[in-house]
């Protein structure tokens, strides 16, 4: 009996407090939610077949090759040996990547959190070498809202990992919106 009263009392207190603090009601409905991966999973770094250019970022030229970042996805590799006909030959899959530079046979790139060293001596088979932890901790380096989008979305919680994509979903009680 005491327990029942306690529960009832708790409910009463919760409801009371909620109204007292006037907590906002989150919005619900169709929106976007982040797709997370772990910043510490380096098995996702590899060479794959050329991918479509969707959202390009940084751009680097090095000898007969040039490289264009696909924001938060990786790097397009172009063979520019024939100036009249540059050919996209590979895609370096580096989820979270928006910053990079090349130094000989090494690539230094971010994954939104760490700075990675990647061996690119064989462009067709790149290999993760090492990383420096937590170089990027500010908001700028993270994919923290869906681009070209207006509407509600699930707020990014960096504790969940790095955001590599956004997907449409039915959302409940989300606190983020872009007008």
């Amino acid at each position: 009996m005491h327990r029942l009263i306690l529960i009832a009392f708790s409910i009463f207190i919760c409801v009371g407090l909620t109204s007292c603090f006037d907590l906002p009601e989150g919005e619900s409905g169709l929106g976007m939610k982040p797709v997370y991966i772990s910043p510490d999973d380096f098995s996702v770094i590899y060479t794959r077949e050329p991918q479509p250019n969707v959202d390009q970022g940084s751009f680097v030229s090095d000898g007969d090759f040039f490289y264009i970042n696909e924001r938060f996805k990786g790097i397009h590799v172009y063979d520019n040996t024939d100036l009249n006909n540059p050919v996209k030959i590979h895609f370096w899959n580096i989820p979270g990547c928006s910053e990079f530079t090349l130094d000989g046979e090494l690539l230094y790139a971010d994954n939104s959190r760490h700075l990675l060293t990647i061996d690119i001596s064989d462009k067709a088979d790149i290999k993760y070498v090492s990383h420096v932890k937590d170089i990027y901790t500010g908001d700028q380096q993270n994919n923290n809202f869906p681009e070209d989008y207006r509407g509600i979305f699930e707020c990014v919680d960096f504790e969940n990992g790095i955001v590599v994509d956004w997907e449409e979903a039915m959302l409940e009680n989300v606190d983020c919106i872009i007008y």
């Binding site: 751009f59 530079t101 700028q140 380096q141 606190d175 919106i177």
Partner: protein, 256 residues
């Protein structure tokens, strides 16, 4: 709903001006376009975050280590290196650092783009050569026509004499449409305009610039090296040969 305002502001800031410009004059290393923020100098990697300059010792590539982190102003956009001097552009300032023998950057100067107002926040890539720093300031951002932030609109190319790194002196200003990326090769400077054309200048070592060519079409980034130039827009990459500056030859246009 508590995040609405902050996200609105945040998205404005992020969408507006997180882009960067630079070109590397070191012939051995890769040449970067204006969005890049990581530089390798000797055994060290320098990276700018949104508000910091970070130094990493990569003597052992299997075990690189962060050795220094300096807080700068917010909204840093670009890191450029020439002859062991780092240039950093933010939306409000140009920072110049020299590098100590242990790799740690030492600030020499911080130059505000506008001395009489804090209200200017522009996209402001910076590159440098022969004691001259080139800075493009643009209130036009790459994705649409929303200003880069701030109240006063500025769209110009500036040159600063940096013979004294502790005291850059503005020496020249050219009004442009919507300047974005810039790249220098020898005495030839390319400046793209987002909504205009790419201007080609013959520069002298006093900060003077002579317009010697115009490559049609808007673009946001450019890399010029060894007589060939790559010009990038959201929809295409164009490639030209400028080894004869009086006769710039179009090689290829790749649709993205």
């Amino acid at each position: 709903m508590k995040y609405i305002l902050s996200f609105f502001l945040l998205s404005f800031v992020l969408v507006s001006c997180t882009k960067v410009t630079e070109v590397d004059v070191n012939a051995d290393s890769a040449i970067s376009g204006k969005y890049n923020t990581i530089k390798v100098v000797g055994d060290f990697i320098y990276a700018v975050t949104d508000s910091e300059l970070v130094t990493i010792d990569k003597t052992d590539n299997d075990n690189p280590k962060e050795i220094d982190r300096q807080e700068l102003g917010d909204r840093i956009e670009n890191l450029y290196e020439a002859e062991n001097v780092l240039f950093i552009g933010s939306e409000t300032d140009m920072y110049i650092f020299t590098l100590a023998s242990n790799g740690i950057p030492e600030m020499q100067s911080e130059t505000a783009h506008i001395s009489f107002s804090d209200e200017v926040e522009v996209c402001d890539p910076v590159i440098a050569k022969n004691d001259i720093a080139y800075v493009t300031l643009s209130s036009v951002q790459p994705d649409n026509s929303v200003p880069c932030g701030g109240i006063i609109e500025i769209n110009e190319l500036r040159t600063y004499n940096i013979a004294d790194l502790t005291s850059p002196k503005q020496v020249n200003t050219v009004d442009l449409d919507s300047p974005q990326g810039l790249s220098i090769d020898g005495d030839i400077l390319f400046v793209t305009n987002l909504h205009g054309n790419t201007n080609v200048y013959d520069v002298n070592h006093n900060g003077g610039m002579n317009l010697v060519g115009v490559i049609p079409g808007g673009a946001h980034d450019v890399i010029a090296t060894d007589g060939k130039v790559l010009i990038v827009s959201k929809t295409e990459i164009k490639q030209y040969d400028y080894s004869n500056i009086d006769n710039i030859i179009h090689y290829a246009t790749i649709k993205l």
